[in-house]
Symmetry: C2
């Protein structure tokens, strides 16, 4: 057990998803729990390989899939480019983007959420997820 790394943070993700704890998954989960950005699969793989160089691309994709299905991760697809991942643990929020500076603010509106649910219901649907982005300019 000598040169073994403990990544309780990461392991917690695996346990939450009811996955067997394996070396590749530990490395991947650790990378995710430490990430402060929104890495894509390739970035996750690269970083995970710093901990365990033998990790295959397939395992990275498979682990990301499984963690996403378990609700541990959330994905974003910005404009057709590669899927990016982040921990889903953070509370839900929408984004207000300053089109001039690129600054992003987060907000939640209970009223909007309620209206969304109503609209979905009117169409005979229930909401699985949603995305709301406001592109704004500082008011004159």
């Amino acid at each position: 057990m000598a040169e073994h790394f403990y990544s309780s943070e990461g392991d917690a993700l695996l346990r939450a998803a009811d996955l067997r704890i394996t070396r590749p998954r530990q490395a991947i989960a650790r990378v995710l729990s430490e990430a402060r950005d929104h890495p894509d699969a390739d970035q996750v793989l690269r970083r995970a390989r710093r901990h365990d160089p033998s990790i295959s691309q397939a395992t990275a994709y498979r682990t990301l899939s499984v963690l996403t299905e378990s609700g541990i991760l959330r994905t974003h697809t910005f404009d057709g480019s590669a899927t990016r991942y982040e921990l889903a643990e953070r509370p839900h929020h929408d984004h207000l983007i300053d089109v001039e500076t690129g600054e992003v603010r987060e907000f939640v509106s209970r009223e909007i959420e309620a209206l969304q649910a109503r609209i979905a219901a009117e169409h005979g649907y229930e909401i699985v997820a949603h995305r709301l982005e406001l592109y704004c300019r500082k008011a004159g």
Copy 2:
């Protein structure tokens, strides 16, 4: 000029984009001007081939690109799936996406729009554009 089809609707798109009027492009533009859904490149190609079976995939993609760059078309990338196209001229609306079938419904909610404006104002902003997508499943 015998069995020639007139697609003034479609041709107008091509002229607006300053493109040479060719048979493949006429078929593609016609399909787009007639579409009531949000077809992806492959669907556009299939439909265009009903008018001109010799159209290649490459031409479909190239025409869609060029029309998009000209501002004639607008694209949507719903959660990692194929890029979908619609005429940019159409009035604003938001989207409800059936996560099981990929079907897209359009909706507008004056209340939500108003709330969005209020939220932006509370942050000292005014809205330039927004995007609202509801990913839904048919209600049990």
